[in-house]
Structure formats: structure tokens, C-alpha cells
């Protein structure tokens, strides 16, 4: 069961907004389809991120994928431990493996709830 307290993107990022601060990560579906994660590159504190644009990159099995931001705003915190503990993405993608926290100026209008995202994954997972 995916948490229903957050929004999900078609590109498999999740976003939980509380008191104007968005916590952003990637979903279990993304992690399982990437497999064998080897590198994660996240932005620094103070970086501006924009809805729909790349905020970082992840490499698995020699495949580099961009990570897309569900919000616009300023990065106020980065999970600095995550790049050295990529197994957290498999064991706790919606908790310990959060990636960035953003002071939100705008949120995507394309976010799905968990039910809609489950259906999206079912359709994509051919």
C-alpha cells in the first residue's frame, strides 16, 4: 500500500506538502524498475527547483535517469546520507529515503493520489 498522504507524478516522484514545505522522493515502482542503484546526485541547499524540471539524477545498471520536481521553490534541506545508503530507496522509499525538502512557491497540478498512481503503474508496468 502506498501512502495516501501525498501526491505522485507519472515520472514516479512523490511529494508530501506540510506547512508550505514539500518533501520529495521517488516511489517503490521507480526503484524496482531501476534496480541495482549505484549513484545519486542531488542539488545543494539553496538551489532553486522548478515544476517539471530535473532536480537530480540517479544511475542504475549503467542507466542514468533524471529526477523531476513536483514543486517550484528553494531547496532547504537535502538527505545527505542517502547517496551513501542507496539501499534505503528499496527498504523505505516513502520515509527514510526522502531526497529533498523544498520551501514551496508552486505545486504541480498533475499530481495523482495513491489510487490513481496505482492505476498508472499497472498500466505502465507491461
Amino acid at each position: 500500500m502506498r501512502p495516501n498522504d501525498r501526491k505522485y507524478l507519472k515520472s514516479h516522484e512523490w511529494c508530501k506538502v506540510e506547512k508550505g514545505i514539500a518533501t520529495v522522493g521517488i516511489t517503490d515502482f521507480a526503484v524496482s524498475h531501476l534496480s541495482d542503484l549505484v549513484f545519486l546526485d542531488l542539488p545543494g541547499k539553496g538551489t532553486s527547483v522548478t515544476i517539471g524540471e530535473s532536480f537530480g539524477e540517479i544511475e542504475s545498471v549503467k542507466a542514468v535517469s533524471d529526477l523531476y520536481s513536483p514543486v517550484s521553490g528553494e531547496v532547504i534541506e537535502v538527505n545527505k546520507e542517502l547517496p551513501d545508503n542507496l539501499d534505503w530507496l528499496a527498504t523505505d522509499p516513502f520515509g527514510k529515503a526522502w531526497m529533498i525538502k523544498v520551501k514551496v512557491t508552486a505545486e504541480t497540478k498533475d499530481g495523482m493520489d495513491s489510487t490513481a498512481y496505482d492505476a498508472h503503474c499497472a498500466a505502465e508496468g507491461h
Binding site: 515520472s11 524498475h33 531501476l34 534496480s35 517539471g52 542504475s60 545498471v61 549503467k62 542514468v64 507491461h126
Partner: protein, 243 residues
């Protein structure tokens, strides 16, 4: 829908990388570009640190790939760049490699070389034992009895539309900096089999994707974008050496 086939011959390293990125961003649903390298060059994987290659012979051309994995010394080889809408390949990364590598194994077999896809090799590691792609065969790689013959890497975009660039390097003759690879030359004359090999690669990949091949050339718009990327990214010192 067709698989566009661009047989580009020997191309300058920065332009090779720029063309592949232009095709990744371009409108064509599926394109296979076959090429070689002139001059021979070393390509770094996207996340590799250029400082690790300070010991290369002076004057060795160096470019950074958009794709992941380790460095490759592109000597005499058949390189391919498959750029497709993501829906044409399996969603999971490992499955997409399996599809491409099985097609390549079939193509290589058509010129009389037997390979096997490594099913249970090393998984990629965050701190790999070698900086070279071909040094340590990993899960999914194509091997002959003398070593790794084919190396691959990918770039995946989800926006503005879901696209995949799959790079593959098939060694024809061993490159001086990576003498541990296998090579077509171990059993066949590369010059003699190259035309058949190119044709077989195109046919096998097209069949695997359920498409028919169509010979083509890069469009003016693709070339314009490639020339811009070549100047602004792939020939830019900071882009190549910035990591």
C-alpha cells in the same frame, strides 16, 4: 512505424555524442545510429570523475557520454545509439538491456560469432573495481570465450516525453587502453564482416522492437541541434572535466 537507420561511418567524437543527444530530444519515435570514431577517443560515463583519467596518454581525445557506466576506449568498434520512445522497450531497465542484448547476440551470431549473455554476473557497484566499462563483465553483458564483446549504457528521460537512449559498443579490434576486451578480430576479419554485421544489427534490433528498418539521414533540424550541442556541451572543457 519504422526504425530509422542512420549509418554514419566514422565521426568526430564530440559530434557523435551531440548527434545522439539530438536524436534523443528529436521527434522521431525510433532511430538506430551506427557509427565509428575518428579520431579514436575515450568516453567517460556520465557520473565518472575526469580526474581518474589524468594518466591517459597525452592528446587522447576525451568526451563525456550522456549515458552511465564506465569509460570506453573507442578504437576500432561498431558503436550504436538506439533512441526510442520509452514505450517501445520494457519498462524495467534490466528487461530493456536483455531485449537489446539478445537482439545483438542474434546479429553477432549471423556473422559466425557465438556469444552468451551473462545471467548471474556482478551487479553494478557504486564503487566499481575498474574505471573501464569492459574490465569487469557484469550481469547482462555479452561475452565470448575471450572476454566482454559488447558494452551498453542508457539515458532515460521522462519529460517532455518518455525517451531512452541506449548506447552500445561492439569491439571489432582491441583498443590499446583496454586490451582485456574480446574482439570480433579474435575469430573474424572485422573489415570483411562489418557490412554484414551492421545489417544484422539493424535487422535484429528492428525485429525485437516489432519494426521495419528504413534507411535515412539526419534531418537538417537534427544536425542543427547536434552542431549546437557539440559546441556548447561536448566540446566544452567544463562539461567534460567538470565532475
Amino acid at each position: 512505424m519504422h526504425l530509422r537507420l542512420l549509418d554514419c561511418g566514422l565521426v568526430e567524437p564530440a559530434l557523435n555524442m551531440a548527434l545522439d543527444e539530438a536524436l534523443l530530444h528529436g521527434p522521431a519515435p525510433a532511430t538506430l545510429r551506427l557509427y565509428g570514431w575518428s579520431p579514436h577517443a575515450v568516453s567517460l560515463g556520465w557520473f565518472q570523475r575526469a580526474a581518474e583519467f589524468a594518466d591517459l596518454p597525452a592528446g587522447t581525445p576525451l568526451v563525456r557520454r550522456l549515458t552511465g557506466g564506465g569509460a570506453i576506449h573507442h578504437g576500432c568498434e561498431l558503436t550504436f545509439a538506439l533512441t526510442v520512445d520509452a514505450g517501445l522497450l520494457p519498462t524495467d531497465v534490466a528487461g530493456s538491456y536483455a531485449l537489446v542484448h539478445d537482439a545483438l547476440a542474434a546479429a553477432i551470431a549471423r556473422v559466425g560469432i557465438t556469444t552468451r549473455r551473462l545471467e548471474h554476473g556482478h551487479a553494478p557497484a557504486a564503487r566499481p573495481g575498474s574505471r573501464w566499462c569492459f574490465a569487469v563483465p557484469g550481469r547482462g553483458d555479452l561475452l565470448t570465450t575471450t572476454g566482454k564483446l559488447l558494452g551498453s549504457a542508457q539515458r532515460r528521460l521522462a519529460r517532455p516525453r518518455a525517451r531512452i537512449l541506449h548506447h552500445g559498443s561492439l569491439v571489432l579490434r582491441r583498443a590499446p587502453l583496454t586490451p582485456f576486451t574480446a574482439a570480433v578480430a579474435d575469430t573474424k576479419d572485422p573489415d570483411a564482416v562489418l557490412p554484414a554485421l551492421k545489417s544484422a544489427v539493424a535487422q535484429a534490433l528492428a525485429a525485437a522492437l516489432g519494426l521495419a528498418t528504413e534507411r535515412d539521414t539526419a534531418t537538417a533540424a537534427e544536425m542543427t541541434m547536434a552542431m549546437q550541442l557539440r559546441a556548447e556541451r561536448y566540446r566544452d572543457h567544463a562539461f567534460t572535466f567538470g565532475r
